[in-house]
């Protein structure tokens, strides 16, 4: 185990302290036992000479008496020596010291002081009796009255006869000495017995402690085993031990992890559940421990793959294990999350298609393959037509539904090997390999066909088209992915310019056209900022009175680099680029400012109307009513002096964009702003819509006026349009009147107003002011 890793020590803390306490107590018991043994042995060693001397006293007392009797009979005896020895020995026994030698018997013996109250009392009594005996003996030897000798031991001999008296005293001394010797011996025996009992007790305590220690160790061991077992059993990790016969142990967690039983994965069966790609590396790791960590997949009972990350520990040399231990952790959720994140990083969250990053990656790889082979690839760039209006008018939620629906349809046309991507907005791309121009065109046609059916989104039926740019690339040309996409973009732009809902192959010359369009857009933007735009005005004449009753504001652009640019050229670019809004606002503002000036400077016809063109894109974006109202207030203009010209297409279109445009116009119309339908007759027939729209004037398109005097059909149509206008209570204006014949014809047809080069060209405001001031009619 490495340093720093936690270890589980079964006897740590309380267990270890218990063992230490056991050992300490056992050691103390052993030490106490030894000390006690030494002490008792030492005491017994001293008791032995005491016992010997004490026993000798009995003999000495009797020998003393005999010596007295012998001495009285004149025999050679030395009772005094024996008497002194008797007393000295009694003293030595009581208080310690040297017991004198007894001739022919014992040597002088060194004794300790007597211990124990009973023994000391007996030895004290012995000493008194010895003194009484010897005193009596000495009195007798001296011829004194023995019964006058003062006795100290409490005895009262019943005879006054010296011999009898000595006999009694000798018997008492002897008896007391014998009892003292017995007491000393008994004390020694008692000490020995006590020592033995103590030692037995200590031994029993030691035995109990040993048994306790053993039990404690057993309990600790079992706890340790139980602890590890519970860890393994409760662990979420998968633990396996491999031996020569495969998996020898499979942890309980496998049931929760895989829904399989422990037995099911025993032996070699385990490897059958392992993913084919992971099986051999894992087998080598489990059998040979040839690596420290390994990742693999296991099949769960329900067929799902679980991802595991495992540590391999080689414990084949560990006699407790004898195998390779695999400790696996379930990382399925982490892997899935990583896959999810990876998918999110390379896929469009809205449609689930590849995103630009993944497309570029695949495209780069495909280009590399193309360089190695003769198989060309193609990139198809698809831009939805009219999607912007859907998004603007119906909201992003429906726009998103449309994008998802379109993505699903595109997916039905593509091959699994193709990469279908959403690049952003309403722009899609398809990368397909091993394809030529013919098949690429067919594929583009299929993509367009799949949009033929209307798209259902939030209960609405929407028609969506697409413009497709195609670039086919072979091995010859060295080009990177970005350039290839750019070429497809150019081709797509060309398809849009060519009328939409079609496809175009990239051609080198397209680049120039696209470059021109992009340049024009940039110049437009700059021109707006620099004030390169001006407004000219083309008067409108009342055919009944020849009075100037209005003027159409027409924007003009004089670029410092391009010179005068035709509105027919830059207006579409302004519409597609979104610049139409600031441009329209500029024209509205300028026209209102101008008519307000004329109003002060000139006598205007009461019906005078300043007509400003408003594009469908502006109206559908909303905000026009508010802008117009604000502008009118700015220049203090009556609403009736302003008219908005809208194209026929605005009222023809269906859906919410048209509804919003209608609502905007209705608000303005209610406030007095006039509304004219421009270029009427060229668009789709929408008479029903015309009825619902707040319209005041119909402008008959110049294409009909051109032949009104000599083309019966044009004359008939013009007559019809004028009649229609009148039938609806509207005024009719003839546009593009350039000849007197045309003027005469429209007058004859009852047209109300006219506008055209014959009457007045678009002109600068000062020229208009002069005309207004002159008060002269324009028409002869």
């Amino acid at each position: 185990m490495r340093r720093g890793q936690s270890r589980i020590r079964p006897l740590q803390s309380r267990g270890r302290r218990a063992v230490v306490a056991f050992i300490a107590i056992a050691a103390m018991l052993a030490a106490g036992e030894i000390a006690l043994t030494v002490h008792v042995a030492s005491r017994n060693a001293h008791r032995a000479p005491m016992l010997q001397v004490a026993a000798r006293q009995r003999t000495l007392a009797e020998r003393y008496t005999k010596a007295l009797l012998l001495d009285r009979t004149g025999a050679a005896a030395d009772p005094d020596v024996l008497g002194r020895t008797l007393i000295a020995s009694a003293k030595a026994l009581l208080d310690g010291g040297t017991a004198p030698e007894v001739a022919g018997d014992d040597d002088a013996t060194k004794l300790p002081a007597a211990q124990g109250r009973e023994i000391r009392a007996q030895l004290t009594q012995e000493l008194r009796l010895a003194n009484d005996l010897v005193a009596t003996g000495q009195a007798w030897l001296a011829g004194d009255q023995v019964d006058t000798v003062r006795l100290t031991a409490g005895e009262h001999p019943d005879s006054t006869m010296p011999a009898e008296r000595l006999r009694v005293l000798t018997a008492l001394t002897s008896n007391v000495s014998l009892n003292a010797a017995r007491s000393i011996g008994a004390s020694t025996d008692a000490n020995t017995a006590s020592t033995i009992r103590t030692q037995i007790a200590l031994g029993i305590v030691g035995l109990l402690l040993s048994v306790g220690l053993a039990l404690a160790l057993m309990v600790a061991g079992r706890r340790q085993v139980a602890h590890f077992r519970s860890l393994v059993v409760a662990s979420q990790d998968l633990v396996l031990i491999f031996g020569a016969q495969g998996a020898r142990y499979v942890s309980h967690s496998v049931e929760q992890l895989l829904g399989r039983g422990q037995r099911e994965l025993g032996g070699w069966s385990f490897f059958e559940c392992v993913h084919d790609e992971d099986r051999e590396p894992l087998r080598n790791a489990c059998l040979h421990a040839d690596r420290r960590t390994i990742g693999f997949r296991l099949a769960a009972a329900d067929g799902a793959w679980r991802h595991l990350e495992a540590h391999v520990t080689d414990l084949r040399d560990d006699r407790h294990v004898r195998g390779v231990v695999l400790n696996g952790r379930d990382i399925t959720e982490r892997v899935q999350l990583e896959q999810e994140l990876t998918h999110q990083a390379f896929h469009d969250s809205l449609t689930g298609l590849a995103n630009r990053g993944l497309l570029l990656d695949h495209l780069t790889q495909a280009l590399a393959r193309t360089r190695r082979s003769d198989h060309p690839l193609a990139v198809l760039l698809l831009d939805l037509d009219g999607f912007k209006q859907v998004n603007d008018s119906l909201g992003h939620a429906i726009g998103d539904d449309v994008l998802r629906a379109v993505a699903r349809r595109f997916a039905t046309v593509t091959r699994p090997s193709d990469t279908l991507a959403r690049l952003g907005g309403d722009e899609f791309a398809l990368l397909t390999e091993d394809i030529d121009e013919l098949r690429a065109g067919a594929l583009a046609a299929r993509l367009l066909d799949c949009l033929t059916e209307p798209v259902e989104a939030s209960g609405r039926t929407l028609r969506i088209g697409a413009s497709v740019g195609i670039v086919v690339h072979g091995r010859g040309d060295h080009i990177d992915a970005d350039d290839l996409l750019r070429r497809a973009d150019v081709a797509m732009y060309a398809a849009k310019a060519a009328g939409r809902n079609r496809f175009e192959f990239f051609r080198e010359e397209m680049g120039e056209r696209v470059g021109e369009l992009l340049s024009l857009e940039q110049d437009l933007r700059t021109g707006l900022e620099r004030g390169e735009f001006t407004v000219h005005y083309q008067p409108e004449i009342d055919l009944a009175t020849d009075a100037i009753v209005g003027a159409e504001a027409l924007v003009r652009w004089t670029s410092p680099t391009r010179g005068s640019v035709s509105p027919g050229y830059f207006i579409p670019i302004a519409e597609s680029s979104g610049l139409i809004s600031p441009l329209g606002e500029f024209v509205l503002n300028e026209a209102c400012r101008q008519v307000a000036a004329w109003r002060e400077q000139c006598p205007l016809d009461p019906r005078f109307t300043m007509w400003v063109n408003v594009s469908g894109a502006q109206l559908s974006q909303g905000g026009v009513a508010e802008l117009v109202q604000r502008t009118l207030e700015t220049f203090a203009l009556p609403a009736a002096m302003l008219g908005l010209e809208i194209t026929e297409s605005v009222i023809v279109e269906e859906g919410s964009a048209a509804e919003r445009a209608q609502a905007e116009l209705q608000i303005l119309h209610d406030r007095g702003v006039r509304v004219a339908i421009d270029d009427f007759g060229t668009g789709f027939s929408a008479l029903g819509q015309l009825r619902r729209f707040p319209v005041d004037v119909l402008k008959v398109d110049r294409s009909f006026i051109t032949g009104v005097h000599d083309e019966p059909k044009d004359a008939a149509i013009t007559a019809g349009l004028i009649n229609l206008a009148h039938a609806l209570g509207l005024l009719a204006i003839a546009e593009g009147v350039e000849t007197y014949e045309q003027l005469a014809s429209i007058r004859e047809l009852g047209c109300d107003l006219a506008q055209g080069f014959l009457l007045a060209r678009p002109m600068e405001p000062d020229r208009v002011r002069e005309l207004l001031l002159s008060g002269t009619g324009l028409v002869i």
């Binding site: 009392a121 031991a153 409490g154 019943d158 009694v168």
Partner: protein
């Protein structure tokens, strides 16, 4: 010892139960026996206390005096010969110990003595009159 003597002086112990009779306190020590001289006949408890320091015994015999037959050693009473008169023989009591003995004492003269070697002749005897 004083307590035993006091009890002995009264002839009966106030605390003694009626069934056990009077408690007769006997004090033995080297070499003297202290006991009441007169007690009432009947059931009594002999409470013999040995004050030591030697071991002592207590033998009670019917006797009018201290004249008892001795063994051949001339030091100890011949217990065989006085057996018919012996009321009780309490073997050796260790110093500091007390022993109770219940017995019925008819009226008469009694001698109490210790018969350990030399003790009787050394003065360990006393007379008791039971009436």
């Amino acid at each position: 010892m004083a307590a035993a003597a006091a009890l002995g002086g009264c002839g009966s112990a106030p605390s003694a139960s009626p069934t056990h009779g009077a408690v007769i306190g006997i004090g033995e020590r080297d070499f003297h026996i202290q006991a009441p001289q007169h007690i009432t006949a009947g059931l009594v408890t002999i409470r013999d206390h040995n004050a030591g320091p030697e071991k002592h015994e207590l033998i009670i015999v019917r006797a009018a005096s201290t004249q008892l037959p001795l063994r051949s050693d001339g030091l100890t009473v011949d217990e065989d010969r006085i057996k018919p008169r012996t009321v009780v023989s309490i073997p050796g009591i260790a110093p500091g110990h007390t022993q109770d003995t219940r017995l019925r004492l008819p009226p008469g003269h009694y001698l109490l003595f210790c018969n350990m070697a030399g003790h009787f002749r050394g003065g360990m005897h006393t007379e008791l009159v039971v009436s």
